[in-house]
């Protein structure tokens, strides 16, 4: 019955051809990627198409891959077709020097806070977002804490002996 991953994949390839790639079905969950310039076109197509109807944005987040030169930052959209109860993941990648991604807030109101969160932690610049400022961290924070060049630990703390925590000191 109804919608399957094969149909979704077929529809996407029909519409976007070579530009959608890296199809994968880990644990039955379809995921694929597209160039970042196409993110809104793909989302709009998934939203509008009468068979696909991915009209619910479950989650939007980022990942930092420091080793993927030129594609360091990923933005991942989790979409849900509520009538067929099928989910998928849609990824776009951007380089870290110009992390500009078009905002999805015009399509999904839910993207507003989630894009602010992704900006807060990864510094992804969502072009067209009306209120792109920090949402969870303190406003005076001057870096993006989930980028992997920054250490996890609080750097203001001076009372901890690093040697006791297995970092720095004589244990390297």
């Amino acid at each position: 019955m109804g919608l399957t991953n094969e149909i979704i994949k077929q529809k996407l390839v029909e519409k976007f051809g070579e530009q959608v790639s890296d199809f994968d079905e880990t644990y039955g969950l379809l995921s694929f990627k597209a160039p970042k310039e196409l993110n809104l076109k793909v989302l709009q197509f998934l939203y509008d198409d009468t068979t696909l109807q991915f009209q619910f944005l479950t989650d939007l987040t980022g990942v930092h891959y420091p080793d993927k030169i030129g594609q360091e930052l990923a933005v991942i959209y989790h979409l849900h077709n509520l009538s067929a109860n099928i989910r998928l993941r849609f990824k776009v990648f951007t380089n870290i020097d110009t992390p500009d991604i078009f905002t999805a807030t015009k399509l999904f109101a839910a993207a507003n806070w989630m894009e602010r969160e992704t900006y807060d932690f990864f510094g992804v610049n969502f072009v067209g977002h009306l209120n792109l400022k920090r949402i969870l961290n303190v406003e005076e924070m001057d870096y993006f804490p989930l980028r992997k060049e920054y250490p996890l630990e609080d750097q203001t703390r001076i009372d901890k002996d690093d040697e006791m925590f297995g970092r720095g000191g004589s244990i390297v």
């Binding site: 969870l136 961290n137 303190v138 804490p145 920054y150 996890l152 609080d154 703390r157 901890k160 925590f165």
Partner: protein
């Protein structure tokens, strides 16, 4: 069938030793008079009627609920009157992880309390950040407000919280009534940016 009866031999409560009264401070007494140091009397009154302000953000707060409930019974120490307005409270009990975004709130609550005021950091997170050695968590509330007593534990058992409370009582009972006007105290508050 054997009838079930309770309280076959009702036991009379012995209340002659159940009510305890605090000991009078050191002083001179004679027929019809008693003299003592004012600070001792004030301290005695203060320490046996502390009004705590529970600032509970996580699991230590649950332990505090047990502490305040019937079994551990914080009311035995004259501290059953929790208030959620800082303006009436003497003791701020910070229980739980304080994130950096929460830090200004802790400070503001402290600043709204009237002197004399005390602060107790309950648990590892409030005392030092605990296991959360991370960018978003305040590494101990003593970075924003002066702390009188630290209670270790993750979370501390109610007995530990009571012990911490009794140490607060010792501080309160022995405090000089001039301490809050001293230059040392003013310098302490100034170092936190609190007037």
């Amino acid at each position: 069938m054997r009838p079930v009866r309770f309280n076959i031999h009702p036991k009379e409560a012995n209340t002659s030793t159940a009510v305890s009264v605090v000991e009078a401070p050191n002083g001179y007494s004679g027929e019809g008079f008693f003299t003592a140091k004012l600070s001792d009397v004030v301290g005695l009154a203060r320490k046996n009627s502390m009004w705590p302000l529970p600032f509970a953000t996580s699991c230590c707060g649950i332990e505090f609920m047990a502490t305040a409930a019937a079994h551990y019974d914080l009311a035995r120490f004259g501290a059953e009157r929790m208030a959620f307005t800082p303006r009436q409270c003497d003791l701020m009990m910070v229980m739980g992880t304080i994130s950096k975004k929460m830090a200004p709130v802790v400070k503001q609550v402290y600043m709204q309390m009237a002197e004399p005021r005390w602060v107790m950091a309950v648990g590892a997170c409030a005392s030092s950040g605990g296991i959360f050695d991370t960018y978003s968590v305040l590494q101990g509330i003593d970075q924003v407000v002066p702390v009188d007593v630290y209670v270790p534990g993750c979370p501390p058992r109610p007995e530990a919280i009571l012990d911490g409370f009794m140490r607060i009582q010792d501080l309160v009972g022995q405090e000089s009534i001039r301490r809050r006007n001293s230059n040392q105290y003013k310098a302490l508050l100034e170092s936190y940016g609190i007037e």
